[in-house]
Amino acid sequence: MKILVSVKRVIDYNVKVRVKPDNTAVDLTNVKMSMNPFCEIAVEEAVRLKEKGLASEVVVVSVGAKSCQETLRTALALGADRAIQVDAEDGLDSLSVAKLLAKVAQNEAADLIILGKQSIDSDNNQTGQMVAALLDYPQATFASEVVIESGEAQVTREIDGGLQTLLVTLPAVVTTDLRLNEPRFASLPNIMKAKRKPLDVTTPAELGVDVGSNVTVLSVAAPAERSGGVKVASVAELVDKLKNEAKVVS
């Protein structure tokens, strides 16, 4: 079984996001960038499947400008075997990325495609589902457990109000939720080793995919600030305020 994992380079999740003064975008200059946390979980899951002897090869792919090679090297240090950069401008929309990933998945004849359920920048939660639709593959999104058995994946999914378990026939798409696993840290020897692992570069043109979007961002603004209110001295004062000032308790 061959696994394809996609990874995205995003603003580090610990960084406080600031909007540019001209309200065109979020300011990414001199900001720490990292692998999207859900993508890290995807890489970890693929590597664990390989360590269990269930996968023969783990290929990681990222769509973006040259800097995303850093993210691919991180994935290689975590245990992926080989990397592919689809050299394109950063910030392509989900459908374009899905078309590129679908083409790579076909070229690689991947049996399982694992993606993060969403990236923490655009928060779209679309790409995995779109890849599955384009390839007419089944999907198991928001996975908290993946069991591979005789050409099928049994996946437990986090849904509103609880958990749902699906059995999908491979090839299939799985997207990761937070509790699927806890990603390992890359060790120094593995970081060194990752530098020598193969990293191929391709382009949307080579893949025969037209990228573009009919969606334009008109503005990006900071959210309305919520200001702190008052401190109350006692439970009695709190209840009094809730009843008589905020009037949310009768």
Binding site: I11, V17, V26, S94, L95, I120, D121, D123, N124, N125, Q126, Q129, M130, A132, A133, L134, Y137, P138, Q139, A140, T141, F142, Q154, R157, E158, I159, D160, G161, G162, Q164, T165, L166, L167, T169, A172, S213, N214, V215, T216, V217, L218, S219, V220, A222, P223, R226, G228, G229, V230, K231, V232, V235, A236, L238, V239, K241, L242, A246, V248, V249
Partner: protein, 309 residues
Amino acid sequence: MSVLILAEHDNKSLKPATLNTVTAALDIHSDVHVLVVGADCQAVADAACNIAGVSKVLVADNAVYEHQLAENVSKLIVEVAGEYSHILAPATTTGKNTLPRVAALLDVAQLSDVIKVEAPDTFVRPIYAGNAIATVKSNDAVKVITVRTTGFDAASSEGGNAVSEPLAHVIESNKSRFVKEQVAQSDRPELTSASVIVSGGRGMGSGENFALLDGVADKLGAAIGASRAAVDAGFVPNDLQVGQTGKTVAPDLYIAIGISGAIQHLAGMKDAKVIVAINKDEEAPIFNVADYGLVADLFDAVPELETSL
């Protein structure tokens, strides 16, 4: 131009998220249709016909749709999509699972988690976990949109008189099979639609201590929530999690107990009308967003709160 909404339901009852989505749809256009896909779901279809502002309800009622798997439901939506300028679903796990498939099959973009309709082609949506708000314009022929329900009031569930139309075409899903579902049973209101929420954090100390919140929640008719820290510590199941990676809520009253107020938690609850924080650490960031803050040991304050309500 008409708007189609994928109804959120469990085959027995229509979920309130559908009502908020109807309001979003009516902000786009006055001709709003609802699609009910399920099995033995006539009661849901009837409820959809009663929603104020809905003119037509399409019903695909067949055993193959029992668990609303994305594979065949998305194909069904694409079959009826031709008539519509907009296809909407609430941004629930079902909507998020299904609609991107629809968008890809239609070769259009999807706009996720829309919180405001500026114009029929222009929408507002949070990005970076709500730390930035984007206004986006779509020139796609069909706009596929998931709606963050807390951004819109609920349409009235009564007063409508929509015509119902069965969809006979059955699409199998043979590559994906339902195995089982574990849904937490509770007498309390659903977290995402509750008007009052009492949430506990790491400060609760243990899962057993969450029982302390029951008394307050009972008196207020509240749902119980939790921070990610409390979920990760194993105190409560993850379906209680409020935050960037959990549920986004906007109740009238949100009481945060033993919650420090990490950015990722605030992203999920800062749209509450009134926020109360009870925490013994007076430096906790939750106090920066709370309308009423009480610096106190929760193990003293919560029982006292219960008796004074």
